[in-house]
Symmetry: D3
Subunit: 241 residues, 6 copies
């Protein structure tokens, strides 16, 4: 039994609240337990220089954390004048994960900018961000269709992500912060709605891990992500499989 | 009658939700209508170099806006690598307003760091931030007292703020974004619970303004701030006057 | 009697020396007593991106202080790699004050860039800067007219500024540095030649201030600014009222 | 048959040249075919603030690429004033990989700073960097032992890394740049000499990948890394298994 | 005959005005014709980290140019967030020149910080800066002696600098801006009062220069610097040789 | 006899290895003894803004040092976020030296970007960089001619550089690091193949130097540079004089 009473293969209570703020074309508050991330999707009628004239669009992401989202306050990156390596790593991951399910040609020469801002952190902020950003991106695509700006639907599949890890020898799903700090191996898995893998990032924090452990973790993650995909569809009012 | 149906001297619906996030010693979501600011107060057991060894504490503030808090997305300051002049101006104002009601000696050699992050913007973010930050600071002081870290209560008075402005010749209280954009004169007023003035910042956007207009605006602001102080006391569970 | 022998409502000796340096279209050394600011106005045949194609011009300001303009040396902002919040606040104020009296349409699609650099500081640098920058801007407009670059005169009114404050309970005009450091309330007032108000920025440094005190300070400032406007006209060789 | 004539499971010609430069405690030029990385290990008798007084040491890495290491010149990061997200991601990866095999307590309160600078790039720079940095770190540890600065040997195991990927449906080992650009799935694997996994980072560039494909790639990587470990031992003059 | 009527070996009118501003321990306005530089010397009771505990002091310099010191406005370095390579080169030169005549041991463990800010530029700003900075440094040393802070006089010699160049085949002394722009070879020479050379920096702008030309330029410079040293002594009220 | 057994007027062993890396149009490893600098020349089909439309090209240089090129590790400039004043000074010098022998009109509207990266440092890195960069630039010009991109040969002359200095009263050629640290006067000389001077930068580190000493140093440098020019021609396979 885990500190919060969950089974090893149990997700934290999940919340996907659409239309959380007013201005963005997509705005979703995603919560994985006490981890809360506000994901907004903004449609911008321009693309980065390397895409200009291609007819195809772009999807990118930025990630931030409010200074006191964490147990002890972190310095504000805007005040320090630069984003940390961790922030950049996470926002690059979110961007890649989103682009993996987008048909950028169908999007047309415009950008969907995803902003994932952590209001409260308790482990798993990047996986929550990916899971919420997909729903925000879906809403932005619906807005584009309603505005008559796109003909073809630009999302080829859904995408969601979860963390798994081995804590005291036991593989656990969806690590909370204290579990994440204590784990030997930490893995983030990003998968499509069809069950394909987009990213697998496993890191040995202490001891190295074996192929067998890797497989256990992937099994856990696969089952967890399937639940996330169902929750995404439910939240978007799509008929479930 | 204003666009949102308010009278000229009417505040927008006010919301002061304490304990909005878990980790901070004070955490308040303040809403002035559609303007929503998350204000956290963090206690840090250190002071800036110029206060070291003084025995007295420090109170300071930082301000930020999520990129899509606004109608069109703004660049993320952390990604640009610097805070705008506007951001710095606002966070300096919040810090001064807070220090005006603090007994820094009673606080002891520690810092209360206020973070005011705008989740959604519709005008008046700095005045909402001051009004909410006071409540968060009050909670942080209560926490300090509960922990036995302070003997004397370090807040000498309450502080709140409101914007006023002249739009099409009519003085209005608590300007929404469209009113703010259209106004000739824009003023932010910060006052204590006792009715003393802390800051008066009036700016002619178009035509210059007269002493008579200044006085009308201050009358409006004074009445509005009195309501904000009552709401702060209510929110903090303090017996009203 | 004040430390330098002035009456409470007396300005420091004022100096407005035009053509102080050779290259700028307007170049004015303004001195309020020991505070000396070099204000240059540069005409540039381009406008910021947000004004392009509008047919109208732009007026903006930058402010700086030589490292040893002050009693103890301050770090050079160019060496630190960023402008302080104070610097940005002041240059934004100067820019707003200048734009308030400009007819940007009459200026045509060009920029007047004002640079206010403090050679020696003794309180009131921002008010001296505004007062001198107006004279430099006037010279730049005359230059534009002489060059045949403008048809209509782009200045609608004069603008000047002064500080006032309450020191030991006494309202004083045009604070020197030691007075500024000691004051309870500090106010900067920017007014047009016609007597309209452009900016009122009052700040309680210690105790809050009352409406009555605010009014006393505004009375003092109004009388002081009238004298500054006369000195500006005199310096520009304009017939006085 | 691959463009350079290799079999799918074949490494590029490997070179590990120790003592490549004079000053560093460890200095290794590693080449994976045309990819050449200079890895230096510097011993510094201090640790970062968060390790001070712990008695234990630290191992960290920085990564850079000469501007014309690549086909077309890239901007120099020092001239741009910041390291890219990619650079930071890679140097964080190298640092984690090295720390995974270090006994930081045995190292004592000092830092081994690894610098991995790419002289010529043809894909796989991060895996070459990890493989070479281990040899440089080993030399630095030998130097520490020769100097009598350490009692216990601080390396618990070897570490090496390789890239694998699926190109046109075929799993390939040790991708050259043109293969890397064309691949659907790209994976970097870091393993210890004992065969434990330290990092697995798989990314779908185009289509998602399956568990079966993941397993094929891991098999390839495991075999390749075993060869790298033999080469490391050979280069260090250690008796092979 | 030159554009301004000077002979080839003639300096521009020289001005060395001490006590130009009030706060600095030394403050000198130096003018070489239309080139005007304000040089202040600030005494600071601390030294850079690499000098701490040495008992000896440090002398360093910073250089800046007001944005409109030049014919067309240059960007403000503080606003751009960095000093140009040219600025850094010049301030390093000034610092080296000053240290060459200082007995840093006699100065004691304190710093003399020289700030050279160009108010108006017409060629030769770095040589004017060195010439004026010496006088400011001398005043700061006198102040130190008057305060009883030093026992031994810390200046071993005087230092001054001049530019020379070949324009249309003719060697000229003390180049004005238009001469500097047109010259084939440009040389800055820094010499002590005793006639020793501190810095010789000759640059071929167009054609290369010969040893014979180099010697002509050095002859010119030597004679010019002797005049500058006389002017420095006169300005400081020292009995001339 | 010097520490490394050289005569006073003897160069260190010189190495000019062309085609050191694959991608650049010119790539030369230059070694002056233990000082090793990789010089690459990259052809880019664009020019800086101030050259656009001129029909003429541009030649520029950047300089860097690997963190552990030196005896003790230096901070990585990319990680610090800025290039030091020394770095900027050196890269400006290299750029000027190269442009002095280029016919920029013959180059056509394109840029040759020289990158000089120090792999190992033992004094004289800037002079080695100039000497090697010329050979790399020559290879880039040959590439341009082979590609048919230029008609006329854009190099008017060769260029090379050497350091000289007075150590314990003895003028020495091509200073190694320990000699450079100990020298009273340090001079870098850049000359063309025809024997013209491009740059002479002499600095008194301790005592000032005399005209006679300057002449001794120039004699030494002239003879040394003549040898460097022969080595450049040999390396390029050009018939020697």
């Amino acid at each position: 039994m885990r500190a919060d009473g969950r089974r090893a293969d149990e997700l934290r209570p999940l919340r996907l609240e659409r239309h959380y703020t007013r201005h963005a074309e997509g705005s979703v508050l995603v919560a994985f337990g006490d981890t809360q991330v506000l994901c907004t999707a903004s449609v911008e009628e321009r693309v980065p220089p390397f895409r200009r004239g291609s007819g195809a669009g772009w999807v990118t992401a930025e990630y931030g954390m409010l200074p006191r989202a964490t147990h002890t306050r972190s310095d504000r990156e805007a005040a320090k004048g630069k984003q940390s390596g961790r922030t950049q790593e996470i926002q690059r991951l979110i961007g890649r994960a989103m682009r993996a399910v987008f048909d950028l040609g169908a999007l047309g020469e415009r950008t969907i900018q995803l902003d994932c801002d952590v209001l409260q952190a308790d482990g798993g902020t990047r996986t929550a961000a990916i899971t919420g950003a997909y729903v925000a991106a879906h809403d932005a695509c619906s807005w584009l269709r309603e505005q008559g700006l796109i003909q073809a639907w630009p999302l080829r599949d859904a995408v969601a992500a979860i963390s798994v890890g081995i804590v005291d020898g036991v593989p656990l799903l969806d690590l909370a912060y204290t579990e994440d700090s204590a784990c030997d191996t930490d893995m983030n898995v990003v998968m499509t709605g069809q069950g394909g893998m987009i990213e697998v990032q496993g890191t040995a924090e202490g001891a190295a891990f074996s192929r067998a452990e890797l497989n256990q973790l992937l099994d856990l993650a696969q089952a967890g992500i399937a639940q996330l995909h169902r929750a995404q569809r439910l939240s978007l009012g799509l008929s479930d499989v």
